[in-house]
């Protein structure tokens, strides 16, 4: 009886030591859940979710402070992916945060731009090039369509333009038929 207790006790202590060592040795700095959530977010950095960017929103979701339906640029696809990851039920996008729309980018009307640099300071992904009293321009490939540069512009020279479909990003249309297994009557 006593031997068994001592043996178990020693075993428990040993395992505890190993676990304790492993916890320090293999410590992961950041929360992997945050990384996983962040990977699913569109990285628009628009702040429509009320957080200061995609990562803060990911942290808030991980902490249970924010819901999964606060990201308008991601739309239904992102909500479904988040629901999948977190084992929650998908829900419709919260209209308080905006509506989902196809991705757009902005363009600067270079005739009107006065070179005030306010949009450059607002751009979360450094997609605007320019300097004080020099004309600015948007690097279209890097623009995430967050529209954060529009409000600060004193001369309203920044406009939203749709991303034009080209052969490189064109998707074959899905045939419009009934769901498999659904019986057509008549």
């Amino acid at each position: 009886m006593l031997t068994a207790l001592i043996a178990l006790g020693i075993l428990a202590a040993l395992i505890g030591l190993v676990l304790g060592y492993a916890a320090i040795r293999f410590h992961v700095d950041s929360d992997p859940v945050v990384e996983q959530i962040d990977a699913l977010l569109p990285q628009t950095q628009c702040g429509q979710c009320t957080y200061a960017g995609c990562r803060p929103y990911a942290e808030a979701i991980a902490a249970g402070e924010a819901d999964i339906n606060q990201c308008p640029p991601g739309g239904e696809a992102t909500i479904n992916a988040l629901a999948d990851l977190l084992g929650k039920d998908p829900k419709p996008l919260n209209p308080e945060h905006g509506e989902h729309s196809e991705k757009t980018v902005v363009t600067i009307d270079e005739q009107v731009c006065i070179g005030c640099t306010l949009c450059i300071q607002a751009c979360p992904v450094d997609a605007i090039v320019g300097a004080a009293k020099q004309m600015h321009t948007v690097i279209r490939e890097e623009c995430t369509g967050c529209n954060l540069c529009i409000a600060p512009c004193p001369v309203e020279c920044i406009h939203i333009v749709p991303v034009r479909p080209d052969i490189g990003n064109w998707v074959w249309p899905k045939p419009a038929d009934q769901a498999p297994g659904e019986i057509q009557h008549g």
Binding site: D38, L41, P42, Q43, T44, Q45, G53, C54, R55, P124, V125, D126, A127, E142, T144, P165, D166, I167, N169, W170, V171, W172, P173, K174, P175, D177, Q178, A179, P180, G181, E182, I183, Q184
Partner: protein, 558 residues
């Protein structure tokens, strides 16, 4: 393996190569009699050529000409970008009138960048190169470069740059397989090419042999084209060729698919999403071989190709030697124009082709067939019915996939599951949709799923980039803030260290004043509004100057 390799070398007409089979496939009505017995006609030089910058798999070429430039036939007008890419040459002489987006042959009907050349009708080269290169003395790498510079891509339909296929692991290539299996109905351009120019094809094959140095070389030909086979065998016999053998294979669609043909000839399977070179095989189309011949012997880049214009929708179906960039409408006119029965215009064959709404699109390097069909010939499919899980699609799939499962997953947008079921091994041959009793447009589902997966990958890539840029920005702003704080702290420390009223502080201020003064002198601060002054005003100025001078002197002596 050993005995089959030995039989590869045997050039006898009744080649005893043991053939293998691939799973599935279909026996289809050929419809080739429309064009296979008629000679290839030149389509001529149309007034305008529209040459797309992308006519191959890979990165689009980069335009080198501007509107107004005169170009001669064969001039490089767009250069290759990166490795998987191909240059583009002017198909005829004339003037570049525009470099802009135009409709191109693509199922989307979207525009893509093109170079538009107004031809002068002279069709002249800058200098006629009559000296054939002695390729046998050239290094295989140099030959490969020559083929790359000629802008040659796979002319069978996929348009993969030929130099990439040739350049891959060439030391370990066992077999060079020349594909003369034109398995899709209606198409007869390779058939006619072999009947009329077997010598050129053979020369091209020999050049390819020299470029890849294979142990064996086989030309695979379908048993439905006896005239072409006879012409090829005659050419082989005339050249006393013993290294190249001709193998006749049964006519089953899609035996002309690269993977299927390799399976038939060698029994080997190309790895999933891999290349034939990984199992020691290079496969090239006969049309490509003829283009290689032109590039090396005539030193002409790829400027034209043979296109089958056929179907009940055109008056005189025919094969045409067509300049790249020729409008499809011009070719249809060459074939006698549309008949009254015409219903649809397809680019490619009836199984893998796609319908287009506009015939003002140009012929590119990869278009082998233009098919104008009547309603009787190819009625529009009836509405799709639900899948009844009959499994017929699985029986005919030449890629050994489960089309039904792929359909289910593509339909429910479960793209990951579709990829798990090897969606990307689907060659889009159309066999499954052809046999489907419910008329489900299966291939369109797979094409949708494939393009959607690519689009998703692009989005992920873009968002990864946005994340990186955002994080870089945050860390930069943070660094700037810290640097400013550190600077302020240093200054504060410097000021408080010497009590605030010491000589150092005074000297610093004095030095700053001196600096400002020097700057002012250098800038030549001239007083303004000093022209046409009255005597009274001048006196006032002199008095003020005097005062300032005395004050300055006082400051300095202090």
């Amino acid at each position: 393996m050993a005995d089959s390799a030995a039989s590869f070398r045997r050039p006898s007409p009744s080649s005893s190569t043991r053939l293998h089979t691939f799973h599935g496939g279909l026996k289809l009505a050929g419809h080739r009699e429309l064009t296979a017995a008629r000679p290839i006609l030149p389509a001529g030089v149309p007034p305008l050529l529209t040459v797309p910058l992308q006519q191959h798999i890979g990165t689009p070429a980069e335009c080198l000409v501007a509107p107004g430039d005169a170009v001669f036939k064969g001039q490089l007008i767009a250069r290759q970008v990166g490795i998987i890419s191909a240059p583009v040459h002017a198909p005829s002489s004339g003037t570049v009138v525009a470099v802009e987006e135009r409709p191109v042959p693509h199922p989307s009907g979207l525009l893509a960048p093109c170079i538009i050349i107004e031809t002068d009708g002279l069709d002249r080269y800058r200098d006629a190169a009559d000296t054939a290169l002695d390729y046998a003395r050239m290094a295989p790498g140099a030959l490969c470069d020559l083929i790359r510079e000629a802008g040659i891509v796979g002319l069978g339909g996929a348009g993969f740059p030929t130099h990439v296929k040739l350049g891959r692991d060439k030391h370990s290539i066992e077999l060079l397989l020349i594909n003369a299996v034109e398995c899709e109905p209606y198409i007869a351009c390779d058939n006619r090419l072999l009947q009329e120019r077997a010598d050129e094809v053979l020369e091209g094959v020999r050049i390819l042999q020299h470029a890849v140095q294979p142990q064996n070389c086989i030309i695979a030909i379908e048993d439905g084209m006896p005239e072409a086979e006879a012409a090829l065998r005659t050419a082989l016999a005339a050249n006393n060729e013993t290294d190249i053998s001709v193998v006749r294979i049964p006519e089953i669609y899609p035996s002309g698919g690269e993977r299927q043909l390799i399976r038939i000839i060698t029994g080997k399977e190309v790895p999933s999403q891999g290349f034939p070179a990984e199992i020691g095989i290079v496969c090239q189309n006969v049309g490509t071989a003829a283009a290689v011949h032109n590039a090396v012997i005539r030193q002409q880049p790829l400027l034209s190709r043979i296109v089958t214009v056929t179907g009940d929708g055109v008056a005189r179906p025919q094969n045409f030697e067509t300049l790249i960039g020729t409008p499809v409408s011009h070719l249809v006119a060459c074939a006698g124009g549309y008949t009254q029965d015409v219903e649809r215009l397809l680019i490619g064959g009836p199984m893998m082709g796609y319908a287009v709404a506009d015939d003002h699109i140009p012929v590119t390097k990869t278009i082998n067939c233009i098919l104008a069909v009547s309603h009787e010939e190819m009625p529009a499919p009836p509405p799709a019915q639900p899948c009844i899980r009959c499994g017929k699609c699985t029986e005919v799939c030449p890629a050994d996939l489960l089309p039904q499962q792929l359909y289910w997953y593509a339909h429910s947008s479960n793209l990951d599951a579709a990829q798990d079921y090897s969606l990307f091994d689907c060659i889009e041959c159309g066999c499954c949709a052809y046999v489907c009793p419910s008329h489900i447009p299966l291939v369109q589902y797979y094409r949708h799923a494939k393009t959607e997966i690519w689009a998703r990958e692009k989005r992920t890539h873009a968002s990864d980039l946005a994340r990186q840029r955002h994080e870089a920005r945050l860390s930069r702003l943070d660094r700037i803030k810290q640097e400013r704080e550190a600077r302020m702290a240093r200054k504060k420390q410097a000021l408080s260290a010497d009590g605030g009223s010491s000589e150092i502080k005074k000297a610093t201020i004095q030095a700053a004043l001196e600096r400002v003064k020097r700057k002012k002198e250098q800038a030549g601060m001239a007083p303004k509004n000093v022209d046409n002054l009255t005597a009274e005003q001048q006196q006032l100025i002199a008095a003020a100057d005097n005062r300032r001078r005395q004050k300055n002197r006082g400051n300095i002596t202090e």
